[in-house]
């Protein structure tokens, strides 16, 4: 039920104004994206003279052809897929386990540990990146998939989200399962986990998007061309002083790098609002 519309019979003048404002704001939101997409379909040479040419023909797909022509793009795409999926899977597993533990089980130091994990939310990546790089060097983890995936697994946000979500599930379910002779793990695995799917979807999408878009860590950890992710890979294709040498090409890269994440979002869109509500209110 929509709060703002209840009790109001018919559309008022105020509603129209709001509608207009929303449409206007929406246009401002998409305009930059359209501008970029437009540029990506223009020849570099043409743009060098005048970007206004976006508004008229000819258009070209050469820029996209060039992106794909960089023979490594598919490999990078695959890397990103592996890293993002691996990180997503890992975060989901670890966060679910920990969320269940923090929400449902009693063990020594639970509450203080939970607070410590929450403090982790405030740690900027820069505060740990050097040390982490050195540790990974020690264990020869650079230029490996684990090297790219592991740092993302220490995500306090996921634990926070899952803990809140598990707290929402009626405790009677655990108890019913206990009386049904189920072990702790079995309760977690067979009874509760299936109920957290909306939260898993949300956390999964956020993790996936974050992993896909991450830049700094892949840049310094995956330093071999075959291990680049799509973000660092595409960046590596840029020439120095790139904008001028290939504005259209650059825009095509941007579109190409952004598309998968947009697709992931649109696909899971319906879960996100419902699940975000799980923790937003508390």
């Amino acid at each position: 039920m929509s709060g703002t519309s209840s009790g109001i019979v018919g559309k008022s003048f105020g509603d129209r104004i709001i509608l207009l404002a929303v449409v206007a704001a929406g246009l401002i939101m998409v305009l930059p994206i359209l501008w970029v997409v437009g540029l990506s379909f223009k020849l570099n040479a043409e743009l060098k003279l005048d970007t206004n040419s976006v508004f008229h023909v000819p258009y070209t797909i050469k820029n996209y052809a060039d992106v794909f022509g960089g023979s490594n793009v598919f490999r990078w795409f695959l890397n990103s897929l592996i890293v993002s999926s691996g990180m997503t899977l890992g975060v989901l597993i670890l966060s679910s386990l920990a969320g269940y533990g923090f929400a449902r089980l009693r063990f020594p130091g639970r509450d203080i540990l939970f607070v410590i994990v929450l403090f982790g939310l405030a740690v900027p990546e820069q505060a740990v990146i050097v040390a982490r790089h050195q540790i990974f060097s020690m264990f020869r983890l650079h230029n490996t998939y684990p090297g790219l995936i592991l740092p993302g697994l220490a995500a306090p946000f996921g634990v926070f989200l899952m803990t809140q979500y598990f707290r929402e599930i009626p405790k009677e379910l655990d108890e019913a399962a206990l009386l049904d002779n189920a072990s702790r793990f079995r309760i977690f695995w067979k009874v509760l986990l299936p109920l957290t799917i909306p939260a898993q979807a949300t956390l999964g999408v956020f993790t996936f998007l974050g992993a896909w878009n991450d830049y700094l860590w892949p840049l310094i950890s995956a330093t071999k061309k075959d291990m680049y992710t799509i973000t660092t890979g595409i960046a590596s294709m840029q020439m120095n002083f790139a904008q001028t040498e290939g504005l259209g090409f650059l825009m095509a890269q941007a579109v190409f790098a952004g598309l998968p994440t947009l697709a992931v979002y649109l696909f899971f869109q319906k879960y996100i609002v419902t699940a975000v509500s799980g923790y937003a209110v508390r």
């Binding site: 009626p170 009677e172 379910l173 108890e175 019913a176 399962a177 206990l178 009386l179 049904d180 002779n181 189920a182 072990s183 079995r186 067979k190 009874v191 299936p194 109920l195």
Partner: protein
């Protein structure tokens, strides 16, 4: 099939004593109901039997065997929760089978038991649905089915009907009574609805404030409440209470009216304060001037089969009396009330109840 003994049970949450040195025996095959107001510790007691709460003192035995240190799954007990606690993502069949699979019963046996339970509970056609696709009553039946298939020594119910609407509640109540006839098993049932307690129980445990007020059959509880609390809590409309003084063979209301009662007054201490209790159906309504005391009708509630008449008497108490369904009384009418002496009760200052000598 199981004799459950609670011996000197205590329980506290932090500093709050919730159950205090409570002892109780529940007989084999008995249908025992825990009745009491919200927060009196009914659920806690039940959950201690189930093993979902630890106990801080005392022992729990089933058929003589001490079980309070066993984990819940190993006590041979099934429980039905107020909010059903069905596994939402499993089909009805899987909900029932889950507990059996966990202890490794073979699939043929599981199928047999599930089918049988489904027949008893008329769930046959619903076995492949998810709980979300069931009505409240059907969900409750599934929850019961999940308990039945385990063939437990005892069933525990924690207000299983309170989430159903009125009509369904009545129907399920009858079904539960029939179920008990069929499966013959010890059942412990928690409720704060006295109609449920009255209609279902072999014996009722009335609890209040960490304590047991009375244990007895429904009619004992209704007709011979051990304490004023029990008298007030059980019965709808609630019993009328009037402060009285003892006067030889009869009692005297504050306005001087005398009322005859069969309670053996002589045995009571005459000096102390007493309260007389009388149920609505023990008050008859007649024409003004013809009864124990006159009264003016204030509210008339017509329930169809009977009518509740709220009338104010001289000492300013509002009493409720029961009249026939087609009683012509209306608010404002002047009437006389007559108390049925055999069905009056006296409660002393400590709340203890005194009743007419037991009928033969």
């Amino acid at each position: 099939m199981a004799l459950i003994e609670l011996i000197n049970i205590s329980k506290q949450y932090g500093a709050v004593q919730v159950i205090d040195n409570l002892s109780l025996t529940i007989n084999s095959n008995e249908f025992m109901v825990f009745l009491g107001p919200s927060g009196c510790g009914k659920s806690t007691l039940l959950r201690m039997i189930a093993g979902l709460e630890s106990i801080d003192g005392g022992e729990i035995r089933i058929d003589g065997k001490r079980i309070d240190h066993l984990p819940p799954g190993e006590r041979g007990i099934a429980m039905v929760f107020q909010h059903y606690a069905l596994y939402p993502h499993m089909s009805v069949r899987d909900n029932m089978a889950f507990g059996l699979r966990n202890i490794g019963i073979d699939e043929a046996e599981i199928t047999r038991r599930v089918t049988e339970a489904a027949e008893i509970l008329v769930l046959d056609t619903l076995l492949d649905r998810k709980p979300g696709q069931l009505s409240g009553g059907q969900r409750q039946r599934v929850a019961i089915g999940r308990a039945i298939v385990k063939e437990p020594q005892a069933f525990l119910f924690d207000e299983p009907l309170s989430n159903l609407d009125a009509a369904l509640r009545v129907r399920t109540r009858v079904e539960l009574a029939q179920l008990h006839n069929r499966v013959k098993s010890t059942m412990v049932f928690v409720t704060h609805d006295q109609i449920e307690a009255m209609t279902l129980a072999h014996r009722i445990v009335v609890m209040n404030n960490r304590r047991i007020e009375q244990v007895g059959t429904p009619m004992e509880i209704y007709a011979r409440p051990a304490t004023r609390f029990v008298a007030e809590f059980v019965g709808s409309p609630a019993m009328n209470f009037l402060p009285v003084k003892l006067d030889h063979d009869f009692v005297r209301l504050t306005d001087g009216t005398t009322v005859h009662t069969s309670v053996p007054i002589k045995e009571l201490a005459p000096a102390s304060d007493y309260t007389m209790g009388v149920r609505a159906e023990a008050i008859s309504i007649g024409e003004a001037g013809t009864g124990d005391t006159d009264a003016v009708v204030e509210v008339v509630e017509r329930l169809g089969d009977r009518t509740l008449v709220y009338a104010r008497i001289a000492d300013n108490s509002l009493l409720v009396a029961e009249a026939k369904g087609d009683s012509p009384l209306a608010a404002g009418a002047a009437v006389a009330l007559t108390f049925d002496g055999r069905r009056t009760h006296l409660f002393d200052a400590t709340g203890r109840g005194h009743h007419a000598a037991e009928a033969a």
